[in-house]
């Protein structure tokens, strides 16, 4: 028994650390799923908006002296407002066209946002320390010691994902949202301002990406490409979970983070590729994704 435990321990440890990556996958793919479900737009700018969340947190600290907790509220709000402006002035003109146009537009926006940040701050990365509140001994999980800040990331991301799920599945506004995903025209003909709802949804999805960016700032260096590194994996997560499925994107996010952790123990070189291998298998066996309808 002792020996079996000894064998399992590295898996438990890496799996638990994998939950930290999984937390970011879940938060980002959740935002993508909500935006895709409601607007039918594949938001390629999601990674850049995640990065912007981290950069704005750094700016708030450097220029205004606003720390981590303030940034956790303000940065998603500011980046979300930018999202609202983008939806109103650009994306809303594309709803009647093919998906491809929304994808191209948001891809272009991602390049612009990353370019501006690179010009302004360079590529070397901006320092953002772990907040003082988490300068404490690591959390003892029994099989490992987990840094307090990473523990916090897992906890808060689960709370945000559950909150979003609740808002969409169990509230009145959520029922408008689900109904408008199916038949936007009819929901609007019931007297609901659907265009406004679409703007708000995009803003909320973008704010969620920026929130994840602020969470990431203390553990990944804040630099222009930090979103691009994540977003490719996150797209794979969305495909595995099922395009547009809220539950699917969240569950697949955490699950793939953990799987990456397991693979890191057993075959470290493959851990960066395993998500794409799983994506290929899922696409072959269940093209609509693990939780997709149809």
């Amino acid at each position: 028994m002792t020996e079996l435990w000894y064998d399992l321990e590295p898996f438990l440890q890496q799996g638990t650390l994998g939950l930290v990556n999984g937390a970011f996958y879940a938060l980002l793919s959740l935002g993508l799923a909500v935006i895709f479900g409601m607007l039918n737009v594949i938001n390629f700018a999601h990674g850049a908006q995640f990065m912007l969340g981290a950069v704005v947190a750094w700016m708030l600290l450097s220029y205004a002296g606003i720390g981590y907790w303030g940034a956790l509220i303000l940065s998603p709000l500011l980046v979300g407002l930018l999202g609202v402006a983008i939806e109103r002035t650009m994306i809303s003109r594309l709803y009647k066209l093919d998906h491809l146009y929304g994808l191209l537009l948001t891809f272009g926006l991602a390049l612009i946002i990353e370019g501006v940040v690179r010009n302004q701050y360079g590529v070397s990365g901006l320092p953002y320390g772990v907040p003082d509140a988490f300068r404490m001994p690591p959390v003892d999980l029994g099989y490992m010691l987990m840094p307090a800040y990473r523990f916090w990331i897992v906890v808060v991301s689960i709370m945000v994902c559950l909150g979003t799920w609740y808002a969409i599945e169990k509230t009145k506004i959520g029922s408008y949202l689900r109904a408008a995903v199916e038949r936007p025209q009819l929901v609007q003909a019931f007297g609901v301002n659907v265009p406004l709802m679409m703007t708000a949804t995009y803003g909320a999805g973008v704010a969620l990406a920026a929130f994840a960016g602020v969470l990431a700032a203390p553990i990944y260096s804040v630099h222009p490409a930090m979103g691009a590194n994540f977003i490719i994996i996150v797209f794979a997560v969305v495909v595995i979970g099922g395009m547009g499925s809220i539950m699917g994107s969240v569950v697949a996010g955490y699950m793939l983070g953990v799987v990456e952790g397991f693979v890191r123990v057993w075959w470290p070189e493959a851990s960066a590729t395993v998500v794409f291998v799983i994506m290929a298998i899922v696409l072959l066996l269940r093209p609509a994704g693990l939780f997709g309808r149809k």
Binding site: K172, S175, Y176, R178, A179, V181, E182, R183, Q185, L186, V187, Q188, A189, F190, G191, V192, N193, V194, P195
Partner: protein, 230 residues
């Protein structure tokens, strides 16, 4: 209550309505009859504002609505019950029922709806599209009854339903009249339409070509048959 003048509408490049004129008075049940493709459903969609392009004049209780978005038109008191019924698969029966926002105080509360449609009450937590076709139609009508809308645009409520269900829909339309709703009804099934309506408009090629009040129906049967080709 509703005055439509010179209404034209387009789907993409195709010009579907070529100047529709019609009136519906408060409390009336009026049908739009005509063959497939005459523009009946499009007329209704143009009134609620969900066609791509429209022009002409649609006045509702004196308010011009031709330039308004569908949600603004709905807020004035007009409700649309579409041909495909529009029951949401991702929502339960109860969520479907409670979905349309109340736009005015309604005389019909949930208890009254459950009395009128006991089938719905038994299935509140099942997904909306698990209901039978007839039950879905009842749900589509019931959810509008609670919103306090005054004018219902009802598109082919009997399509694809069994005769015994059609009778039930007929009683439902009578109930709508009793609670004070005005109904503009599109119907292919003339036998059904004649049992419920006060007046009939006949459409051909995107225009109204005739209007027959209930009292003149007997005398106008030959004319009507030639329009409808039945």
């Amino acid at each position: 209550m509703l005055e439509v003048r010179g209404l034209e509408a387009w789907y993409g490049e195709s010009h579907v309505l070529h100047g529709v004129d019609l009136d519906v008075a408060d409390g009336e049940i009026v049908t739009l009859l005509g063959r497939n493709g005459a523009g009946k459903s499009t007329t209704i969609k143009a009134i609620i504002g969900v066609v791509e392009r429209r022009k002409g004049s649609i006045r509702y209780n004196g308010t011009e609505t031709i330039g308004l978005a569908p949600d603004r038109i709905a807020r004035l008191g007009i409700a649309w019950c579409p041909e495909e019924r529009g029951i949401f698969a991702g929502l339960t029966v109860k969520e479907n029922l409670l979905l349309p926002p109340e736009i005015a105080p309604s005389r019909v509360d949930l208890d009254r709806i459950y009395t009128l449609f006991p089938n719905l009450k038994e299935r509140l937590s099942s997904p909306g599209t698990k209901l039978s076709g007839g039950e879905q139609q009842m749900l589509a009508i019931a959810r509008i009854m609670r919103t306090g809308a005054k004018l219902m645009l009802l598109d082919e409520p009997t399509e694809g339903l069994a005769p015994v269900i059609i009778q039930q829909i007929g009683r439902t339309v009578q109930a709508l009249k009793e609670i004070g709703l005005t109904v503009l009804l599109v119907e292919q099934n003339f036998r059904f339409a004649q049992t419920v309506a006060d007046r009939h408009y006949v459409m051909e090629h995107g225009r109204i070509v005739d209007m027959i009040p209930r009292a003149e129906l007997e005398a106008s049967m030959d004319r009507l048959h030639s329009y409808l080709g039945v």
